[in-house]
Symmetry: C2
Subunit: 393 residues, 2 copies
């Protein structure tokens, strides 16, 4: 052997290098229950931020398609995020390895998605073709397509006992699908709901499904404990316009809040929030705000409502209402074009996307201080991985 030593040295260095790399990787780990996933709309990418590590950016995942109005759901255990793009691609994003783990074409124009309670299936609602597509998480293949009478489908949510609930925008129906059965049967169809459902929500307890309607002055409410009928709950009207016919679209139903025995909801034509008694469904108070809110979201302890205004006026403003006193206690101007907000799991902090300023702002909800600015490319929706543990999200 002429020169075994240098070779051994090279070997030792190579092995040491691998060990050091492994060690560096070992430190680069995180829990996945308080991750904030930010949609970068124009870039077709998401930023993944760990709110539990001083709001550190973990990385970016690209190649997700057209993310206008995109929504994100999470796998059971929050290892993965699922995003469906408007051009019909379902992507499975690995939140530990920060890469696209899988991708599948599920429609031509997709609008929403839901993960079944058991975590085994991802359901997608399509505008075109009008259907609901069920994808197996394990094989990442389409296992069922449920035709929706040529109707666009909207307001798709997961509910207890592996149910899925969806509204048919053109057929004016609400359907309940049993995803615990191998053939995914539609077990209930409600036809007398009103005209043109456009969105739906499930209350956090998984009991009440509420569909908003374009052309009826009520919301359609389904009580899953008593699923015989749909209840039509009249929409509150602004106090100065008692004769207004609410035929316009009301905001995202994400902005409906049940707190302290009341419902807090934006109303058509009103610059504020109606307070509705949930026993009688009658308006009992009106909280004036500076504009027409598009999102009005409750801090997880249900003590504050944070509202923003996307349509025209005050697009740069966020207002905070104290639920106990029903008064505005803070007005913030976080940046240009405020698109969305998302609380960290117990609501200590809130993330706000300023689409116009290309950044995400992190505020302390106790002191209202700005604690971090995170550069992001045209950010829109923000989704916290704690959604995996909540019904309807």
């Amino acid at each position: 052997m002429k020169s075994p030593k240098p070779l051994r040295l090279i070997v030792a260095q190579a092995i040491l290098g691998l060990i050091l790399t492994a060690t560096a990787m070992a430190d680069d780990k995180w829990g996945t229950s308080a991750l904030m996933v930010v949609i970068e709309r124009e870039a077709g990418s998401v930023l993944v931020i760990d709110s539990a590590q001083d709001h550190k950016v973990l990385g970016k995942v690209e190649g997700l398609g057209v993310l206008h109005h995109a929504s994100i759901s999470f796998s059971r255990g929050s290892r993965y995020a699922y995003v469906v793009s408007r051009d019909g691609f379902l992507s499975k994003i690995d939140l530990v390895e920060l890469k696209v783990a899988n991708k599948l074409k599920v429609g031509d124009s997709a609008i929403g998605l839901a993960v079944t309670q058991d975590g085994k299936y991802i359901a997608i609602s399509n505008y075109k073709p009008g259907n609901i597509v069920i994808v197996s998480d394990e094989t990442f293949e389409i296992v069922k397509t449920i035709e929706a009478d040529n109707s666009k489908t909207v307001g798709l949510v997961d509910a207890p006992n592996d149910l899925l609930i969806v509204s048919l925008m053109d057929a004016n129906e609400i359907w309940v699908i049993d995803a615990s059965k191998p053939d995914f049967p539609v077990i209930r169809k409600y036809t007398d709901i009103g005209v043109k459902p456009y969105d739906g929500l499930l209350t956090p307890d998984g009991r009440w499904y509420i569909a908003g309607l374009f052309h009826s002055p009520w919301v359609a409410m389904l009580d899953l404990w008593n699923p015989e009928n749909i209840t039509k709950v009249p929409l509150p009207k602004p106090p100065d316009k008692p004769d207004l016919e609410p035929v316009l679209k009301i905001p995202h139903l994400e902005g409906w809040i049940m707190a302290d025995g009341d419902l807090f909801a934006p109303v058509i034509g009103g610059e504020g929030l109606a307070v509705v008694d949930t026993k009688t469904w009658k308006s009992k108070e009106f909280i004036p705000l500076s504009a027409f809110p598009v999102f009005a979201m409750a801090r997880p302890d249900m003590r504050q409502i944070w509202a923003n205004y996307v349509l025209g006026k005050n697009h740069d403003t966020v207002e905070v209402v104290d639920i106990k006193t029903k008064k505005v206690i803070k007005i913030l101007k976080p940046g240009k074009k405020i698109f969305h907000m998302q609380f960290t799991p117990k609501g200590r902090y809130v993330y706000i996307s300023s689409n116009g300023d290309n950044k995400v702002l992190v505020y302390d909800t106790k002191t209202f201080e700005l604690i971090k600015e995170i550069p992001a490319q045209k950010p829109s929706g923000i989704f916290c991985s704690d959604r995996s543990n909540k019904f309807g999200l």
Copy 2:
């Protein structure tokens, strides 16, 4: 060079081996939002199970001290679990690397712990010495010791705005600590609460703190939105014993359920659950069970209550109550000495510890089928990592 090839081959194999190991490790990853951590009481260890991966055992972490009556809280983001042992050791368990990341002596006889809302501090309540100890998560050192007038401290919980609430068992007081201030001041002390508090809970919205009392026929209730006074809420009595003086310990307050506008609570001397109207705090109904329940826990969708019986009779039994009909719909016999139960985050499954049979049983809560048996050494408490996202846990 006489024989460079074999050496190169050895090197190549060594490097390949390392790469393969790294690859195997890369597959061995998980999300941390649906982990089930099972206390093995006599062994001083915990089993970590991923409920999102078909209830797979990820591993065991040992060397945690005396785990009688041990409780677990989780870090923000659920990367870590904190466990405090009865002999006063706080351990920080890494749920990604499955090892003890840190350990610290915090008292001589510890009983409970809580993580502040911002995740920066772990607070421990001690019987001996009577105090509350605050540990920095970052440095893992004690940053403050709050003396509790030589009283055992119990019922320690975290609340919104970085508050901590604790009861003083011997001093008969409830204290509120502000953990957002550098010196952790006690900002409120309630003295007129009743005699001998022994446990406390915070409602899931983070608003109401309820302390159970050994020697007073009421519970002490603190409304954090109106913190001026303590309200004394009378304890319900079993219907056949209207004159009973409830001076015995009622079960863990974990077994108090607010659902569908009612409170469901075990009552002293009664084999069943009292249903109490939360508007008037009057008993309105009694659900008979086969024995005196020690835990009565609601499935996260608040549709079922699962009850078990540790003290004497029916120690091998679990009964399921339907909250809508208020009837027992299932009686299970999972094994000997049923100690504890814990639902997976959205309640599709429940974990039950059979201390006597050395196993953890996983049931489907929709079909009541036993879907998995997991060997465990004298299992007692089971804690789901979704607790990191809940107040008071």
